[in-house]
Symmetry: C2
Subunit: 368 residues, 2 copies
């Protein structure tokens, strides 16, 4: 099976069956008089690595066993089973819910007791992430929705929950990206590339100028760090339609990290990279070099100690080792300023849509 076929089959495997298998395995262990256990890949940073080949952050091979008959493991064992069972319920009833809702649904499941099965949401969140890695499924496939944010516009028609939706007939608003885009069916994708914009205000400006019509592209507004639904949508557009992805963020360590999460994945959720990250994504701006090129020095902001510290961290990440990124980061550390993408507005309200972006795209002037 090729890498891409393998990925395909993973996405199509039945989450309900996978959940049931957890139960069956435990039953078998009990029948064999074994101490029941679950095998959970370790999600600590020590088990996170950058895979040079796929250009993705990934989980390593380390696994841990979680035993029922072990005082240190028993509570977590119980919590895992409770969440798995609730997820099965969600799938059977075909409803989706949020992490917060799940926490409240499982907070107390012991009748006639004052003991909580979960005290805080971080406990249920951690167990949900454990299930994701154990089953190699996205939490969305377990019917658990992540934060919802982001909007999209472009010459695309999709089928979602029985509705045919034209992303080019949505006026000034666009389509609100749901937290779960797994079941969206693409009917028409008439685009040469996909532009991801960190800030919704810039997205509105580009939409008003009908940039997507003029340049035949899809524009996604991420509203800060891209939500999982948005990242999965970018990934699907890139992979299924072979679309180049250009990311447009502020010129600071945070903006650049937003880009790197879209491209490479995040360290906290390294197990999701294969499904959520888009390794072909490119950075269209804003760069430190842009500040010189477009004479924006007067519109920069003094970098804080925190900014410099963060830039130094990025310099050490394996996925920022390309000499162009090293140069950009070094410039930021030396010059001690940063800039927002809005700084380009000093050149005119339409400068971004009429000059900056078209020039960058024409010259393929991207950072890797």
């Amino acid at each position: 099976m090729s890498e891409s076929e393998k990925k395909e089959s993973e996405i199509k495997k039945s989450p309900k069956k996978e959940l049931e298998n957890i139960g069956f395995k435990i039953l078998q262990q009990i029948e064999k008089n074994e101490n029941p256990y679950l095998e959970v890949p370790i999600r600590a940073l020590s088990n996170v690595c950058y895979d040079e080949k796929t250009k993705l952050l990934k989980l390593g091979e380390k696994k841990a066993k979680r035993y029922f008959l072990n005082i240190a493991h028993a509570k977590k064992f119980m919590q895992t089973i409770i969440i798995a069972s609730k997820c099965k319920e969600l799938i059977e009833e075909n409803i989706h819910t949020s992490l917060r809702d799940m926490f409240y649904a499982v907070k107390r499941t012991l009748p006639d007791s004052d003991e909580n099965t979960f005290d805080e949401q971080n406990e249920s969140d951690a167990v949900i992430e454990d299930l994701e890695v154990m089953l190699d499924l996205l939490r969305e496939q377990l019917h658990l929705n992540a934060d919802v944010r982001g909007r999209v516009v472009g010459k695309v028609t999709i089928l979602d929950s029985g509705d045919t939706i034209h992303w080019d007939k949505l006026g000034s608003g666009g389509w609100a990206i749901p937290s779960n885009v797994e079941n969206i069916e693409f009917k028409r994708v008439d685009a040469d590339f996909c532009l991801v914009v960190e800030k919704n205000a810039a997205w509105e400006r580009l939409n008003e100028d009908k940039f997507w019509k003029e340049h035949n592209c899809i524009i996604i507004g991420a509203q800060g760090q891209a939500a999982r639904g948005t990242r999965r949508l970018i990934k699907r557009l890139s992979e299924e339609f072979n679309l180049p992805v250009y990311v447009f963020c502020d010129c600071d360590a945070y903006g650049w990290y937003i880009y790197s999460v879209i491209k490479t994945g995040s360290m906290n959720l390294a197990h999701t990279s294969e499904k959520l990250a888009t390794p072909n994504a490119k950075f269209i701006g804003l760069t430190m070099s842009d500040i010189l090129k477009y004479d924006l020095k007067k519109y920069t902001i003094k970098a804080t100690e925190q900014d410099i510290k963060r830039a130094k961290e990025l310099m050490n990440y394996k996925w920022f080792q390309h000499p162009h990124w090293q140069r950009e980061l070094q410039m930021m550390i030396n010059k001690r300023y940063k800039a927002e993408l809005e700084a380009l507005t000093s050149k005119g309200f339409r400068f971004v849509s009429e000059n900056y972006l078209p020039e960058k795209i024409e010259k393929q002037d991207f950072l890797p």
Copy 2:
């Protein structure tokens, strides 16, 4: 002219002409050899009052004069004229932009000088608010967009920027509410009420259950404090289609304040209340009484000192004087706990859509 006709004519007055009038008046003053001045209503809290009749927070009558030939006023005078002139440019070119973009566009307009006309965005924001009150226009009418957030679904068809958009044909995503809803034309509004939900996750749950179809309503997800575009949309639906508005927030002082901003307006932007606030809005939950009624005590969260302080502040606001609100606030202060709307999920994933909301609506069990 009736109150509503008056409002109508205000909304339809020409922002471009209003901006030009600022210039003409100054020209006249100069021709009469007067010291040119602008008359600006005072936006300080001392000039904010609650109008019992309209149930809105409003600006009082106090005004100040801003003179050109006055060392203390000259910079602000110049800034006001620069922003007014840039807004005229936006209107003439028919483009909209954000407050942040406007700041960068006006930061330095003095050629051959190292002096900034604006050092920080709070200076340009303040001048924009001054212009709003001087001209009695929304900043959106000056083509300045506020933060964009929120999504909507329901049996509604609108016309926006040439596109016909059906809010009931948008799958799981809904329509992303733009920052400016002034020019939206409603073609069909088939709804009995409008439900505003503080949290987008709860909005997704309700949308998945097709609550809007079953109960013939419009559901708006505010994503926290409602953005101006969202507030204006609620106002328009309430006023133009006589729709009752029910607001669903967390049971804490912040959730309740989110409700009060939708209903009464905010203190900082008291001059916008007439255009953005919906005095007929009602609070559907979550209340302290709900916690007792639905036995949610186990799912509450301990209130912080900050929560209690905020609750005490609300108790003193004139628009929270209704005995039912006083009782709720007193309960919160006495019991020292709060709850999120997700606490209702402890009763089942569909409890909100199948029990809680329908029962409240049937019994008209709202807080004023």
